[in-house]
């Protein structure tokens, strides 16, 4: 059983590697440079898939937290915790990529644009989740408290989204990056292909990391069980 899981994980890893390489090739070589932004735009092939998988990750935290509170299955909690960790990683990467792109484009590393702000708040909420988990010793209590934060944090996203957008649009004139338009208007087909391949690659990478991290959590649980029952 475990062997079969291990093999399918290896296959998933191989697929991930191939698709990431393919994505890099399309993004760096096949797709033409952007009409306005030139080569700089190529970072979008990473940037957009990263943030989308991060959102997916927090959605998984939400679903698994609900399931845990309902069924109290330890594995749901391990999955929620794993997804939160990877989600924080991907959100952090998004912010870094955004800054790398923003510096030459806008001339600043950071601007209080609505979408940037939203991403940063999301990052903070789930960093808080990870810190909370590390500061509660009792395992069940940590799982329940984490689940509650996971649920509330996710439900908060639309509200933060709304308030931050209103704040940015009502308070100040819209910035360079208008929220309703992507930075490029006329998209070359090979650009779309590059973006889709990268998106698929990131999804594969995400689920590969998630399964690895979940496996670690399960093994930890197994060790605990063995210590508990072995020491009889």
């Amino acid at each position: 059983m475990e062997k079969r899981h291990g093999r399918s994980r290896t296959i998933l890893g191989g697929l991930t590697l191939v698709s990431v390489l393919l994505g890099l090739y399309w993004g760096l070589v096949q797709a033409p440079p952007d009409a306005y932004q030139g080569q700089l735009q190529r970072i979008m092939y990473l940037h957009i898939p990263t943030i989308l998988t991060a959102y997916l990750s927090f959605f998984i935290v939400f679903i698994m937290s609900c399931l845990y509170l309902w069924k109290r299955d330890r594995r749901d909690d391990i999955l929620a915790y794993s997804a939160a960790e990877i989600g924080v990683l991907f959100t952090g990467l998004t912010i870094i990529e955004g800054s790398i792109w923003g510096k030459p484009t806008w001339g600043v590393w950071w601007t209080w644009d609505a979408r940037l702000t939203l991403t940063a708040i999301l990052f903070l909420i789930f960093v808080g989740y990870l810190i909370l988990r590390s500061l509660i010793e009792d395992e069940n209590r940590g799982a329940i408290c984490g689940a509650v934060l996971g649920i509330i944090g996710f439900l908060d996203i639309p509200l933060i989204h709304m308030s931050v957008y209103w704040w940015r649009t009502l308070h100040q004139p819209p910035s360079i990056l208008r929220p309703d338009k992507l930075p490029w208007e006329n998209v070359h087909p090979s650009m779309l292909i590059a973006l889709s391949i990268n998106f698929a690659a990131f999804l594969l990478l995400y689920f590969y990391l998630l399964s690895l991290r979940f496996h670690v959590g399960e093994m930890r649980e197994e060790v605990k069980r063995m210590k508990l029952y072995g020491g009889a």
Binding site: I121, R141, C145, V148, I152, D156, L159, M162, W166
Partner: protein
């Protein structure tokens, strides 16, 4: 009804303890006043810039004093294993949630009732007739703060370093309520008319309702964990 009856007993208990121990209210009040002085040293606020600066400063003061109150919110229950005694009883757990939200709300409103006029005096503002409207907005914002704050005060109650942890996870979640409250106050101060800020008020109200419901539903799991 049983829920409200139990909640009112819990509130009676908390108010009585607060009157006798005077731990939260006095500390919160003086901390709030102290913050106004600190703000005054940090910023020169000319009268014409008040509409844009005052809401932020005020709300910052309320946020900090409120957090101070939240970290003490479950203190009586931590002492002497009283939480165990509450959990032993068939009491509806949601009653405890409602009671604690109400109690913290009362504490903060009392503080705000004094700090708001004091702010007007200390910073030489003359728009006294807007004060009731500002207070109403502060009430809605404070409600949102207490609704979410009480839930996470319970979440962090049995964690290590809970006093540090609480604002760390609470503040990011509070962003909608912080933004909405400050902007509403700003619009009111600038235009002198609350109807200009209806969108923000609706968001604030929505936040209060959504998180009161969510807290009401999940509190039982948190407190029994």
């Amino acid at each position: 009804m049983e829920l409200l009856r139990q909640a009112s007993w819990l509130i009676w208990k908390d108010l009585l303890l607060e009157i006798r121990r005077r731990e939260s209210l006095v500390t919160m009040f003086f901390f709030g006043t102290l913050l106004l002085f600190v703000f005054h040293f940090a910023f020169e606020m000319p009268r014409e810039r008040a509409p844009e600066m005052a809401p932020g400063l005020l709300w910052l003061a309320f946020l900090f004093t409120g957090t101070l109150g939240l970290t003490q919110l479950f203190q009586p229950e931590r002492e002497n294993h009283c939480l165990d005694a509450l959990l032993l009883s068939p009491m509806d757990r949601a009653a405890l949630y409602l009671a604690k939200v109400f109690f913290n709300l009362v504490l903060m409103l009392v503080v705000e009732l004094v700090v708001l006029p004091l702010f007007w005096v200390l910073f030489n503002l003359d728009s006294w007739r807007l004060l009731p409207a500002i207070f109403m907005v502060a009430f809605l914002g404070t409600l949102g703060f207490c609704v979410l704050g009480t839930l996470f005060s319970a979440v962090t109650m049995r964690a290590r370093a809970r006093e540090l942890l609480l604002p760390l996870i609470l503040f990011p979640l509070m962003i909608p309520v912080i933004l909405a409250t400050i902007r509403t106050m700003e619009v009111i101060l600038r235009s002198g008319d609350a109807s200009e800020a209806l969108d923000w008020l609706r968001l604030l109200l929505g936040f209060d309702v959504i998180f009161l419901t969510a807290g009401f539903l999940v509190f039982e799991w948190v407190i029994e964990a």
